[in-house]
């Protein structure tokens, strides 16, 4: 027991907290400077969302591990004796606030997602597409009434990964994956092993865009165990020609697309309105009147540039629009963040703790 207490004292040393705070300041500074060159998303991934930032072969702690160390360090405080004593209560409350904030950060990091919902006027949508993550979809289109989807998530889309599922009569081996690429037509038609679009096109890798969401990701893959359709194929985001095949008398479509998240409700765009700056083609403001349909009960909501719709943990911001034909299409930026309220609550708790402690110090000083 003595040993455990000794370790807790070492791990919970305030010095560790000071060093982690100083290191976080360094990371925030470097991250802010480099994001100008590598883009916001890449900087966030490199310096904050990863465990280590490798400088050559030297691993430096990134934001994630720094904050984990900070969390463990602060947690050790709660193993100390008499923390709920009147004199220590302020510090205990403040520690709780900081821990809650770090927990909120962890929740946001692991469970939040963001993307966009695109809806044509008069139509409904019940999903949003992630800006960054991709998924590989195998769609069985054989049924006249519905399409059956098998979705392989972003972590599975990597070189040498084999995508297989018992419901599919074929396997997919990923030969190459490009974060950003473009299709280029072949001068000579590809050999017999190249199938579909890969016969006439190949994917040329490009440097990643600064704005990560603008990347056109692509994969080169080999289809196995499908008999006549075995071969090498390509797929990229927004590929206009869908890769389709028939195996065991079933029709399939293969798609690489942005990761979709289905909502527990529907949004129907009733009317999209935009006001232009006089004499220009620049939008001054735009808004979407939508029906929020839940369990077949519609409710009208207006989403405008500064008034997002918040519902069941999702927030929909008016982000953009598309004009194609007489009807218009709205683009709503969508965020789901389980840790949204944590910063507010933890800041209030920390303020209460600090105020209590300061008041206590003031009264003590007055007594002396």
């Amino acid at each position: 027991m003595k040993n455990i207490n000794k370790y807790i004292t070492i791990i919970g040393s305030p010095k560790i907290f000071s060093y982690t705070v100083m290191w976080l300041i360094v990371l925030v500074f470097i991250g802010t400077v480099v994001q100008k060159d590598i883009g916001l998303y890449a900087a966030q991934m490199d310096y904050f969302s990863s465990w280590f930032k490798w400088i050559g072969f030297i691993p430096l702690p990134s934001g994630k591990i720094t904050m984990l160390v900070m969390f463990i360090n602060l947690s050790c405080y709660f193993f100390r004796p008499n923390i709920f004593n009147k004199n220590k209560l302020g510090i205990t409350i403040t520690h709780s606030g900081v821990i809650l904030m770090l927990l909120g950060g962890g929740l946001t990091s692991y469970f939040s997602s963001e993307g966009s919902v695109v809806i044509d006027e008069g139509n409904k949508s019940n999903f949003y597409e992630n800006y960054y993550n991709k998924e590989f979809a195998v769609v069985d289109t054989s049924s006249p009434d519905y399409d059956r989807f098998v979705i392989f998530d972003n972590p599975l889309i990597k070189v040498n990964s084999i995508l297989s599922d018992k419901s599919l009569p074929f396997d997919i081996e990923i030969l190459d994956y490009y974060v950003n690429c473009k299709p280029v037509s072949r001068i000579y038609e590809g050999g017999d092993e190249f199938k579909g679009m890969a016969k006439n096109f190949f994917l040329q890798e490009l440097p990643s865009e600064k704005e990560y969401e603008k990347n056109i990701s692509g994969i080169i893959y080999r289809l196995k165990n499908s008999d006549s359709f075995d071969g090498i194929y390509i797929n990229y985001i927004g590929q206009p020609i869908t890769q389709s095949l028939t195996v065991d008398e079933k029709d399939y479509m293969l798609l690489l697309r942005r990761q979709r998240t289905y909502l527990p409700f529907q949004l129907e765009l009733i009317d999209f309105e935009k006001i232009m700056h006089p004499g220009t083609n620049i939008a001054k403001s735009f808004s979407s009147l939508v029906n929020l349909i839940e369990e077949n009960v519609p409710r009208k909501v207006l989403i405008s540039m500064n008034e997002p719709l918040r519902h069941r943990g999702y927030t929909f911001y008016q982000a953009s629009f598309i004009e194609d034909g007489p009807k218009q299409t709205t683009v709503l930026a969508t965020v789901k963040n389980h840790g949204r309220l944590f910063p507010y609550i933890s800041t209030i708790i920390m303020s209460i703790g600090i105020l209590y402690h300061m008041l206590l110090m003031f009264l003590r000083k007055k007594k002396v």
Partner: protein
């Protein structure tokens, strides 16, 4: 307190979600077949068309009757077919909307009419127009406006300026194939 912390720590470690394969099924969107008949808006009449062999069915959209994709050079052209009741906003409004999409100034109906060519299909005469912005050749349109009964069919091809030149004959062949 120690026990509580150890419990929370073990709970956090057990929260690893390894299920990276999802399954679901959703009702089919309207599927466009090459030989499908389409109802004219506000009418019992239906019409169809012939699709050039190198055109592929494009992205489905509820706004469009049909979409096609055409591969040319290293690029793809997008063709949309839409149908609206009445005049669908009229020639002047629609052409000027397309012009604005290409960052061109709107024109009067008299000037627009000068650029319009009249073509023929089994549905009747239709108006054909090519819109190119000489200062931005990355996007250009071939447009057809077909008036049938009390409704208007819009066909639009979006490609680069050189692309619309290359694909003009195929587009006209497609528009002329519209029939009852």
């Amino acid at each position: 307190m120690k026990k509580l912390y150890i419990f929370v720590f073990i709970l956090a470690l057990s929260c690893n979600d390894d299920k990276h394969i999802k399954y679901y099924k959703i009702p089919k969107l309207k599927v466009v077949n090459k030989n499908q008949d389409f109802k004219i808006e506000d009418s019992q009449l239906s019409f169809t068309w012939n699709v050039p062999s190198n055109w592929v069915i494009g992205k489905e959209s509820s706004m469009r009757l049909a979409s096609y994709t055409i591969a040319y050079d290293n690029l793809f052209a997008d063709v949309s077919v839409t149908n609206f009741s009445g005049d669908g906003g009229g020639v002047e409004q629609n052409v000027n909307r397309w012009r604005r999409q290409l960052n061109l100034e709107p024109q009067s109906i008299e000037l627009i009419e000068k650029d319009i060519q009249n073509k023929k299909s089994d549905l009747g005469n239709y108006k054909f127009l090519k819109i190119i912005n000489p200062t931005n050749e990355e996007s250009a349109f071939l447009c057809s406006i077909i008036t049938v009964k009390n409704s208007t069919i819009f066909v639009k091809l979006n490609a680069t300026a050189s692309g619309v030149d290359k694909l003009e004959n195929q587009f006209l062949e497609f528009c002329s194939s519209f029939k009852f």
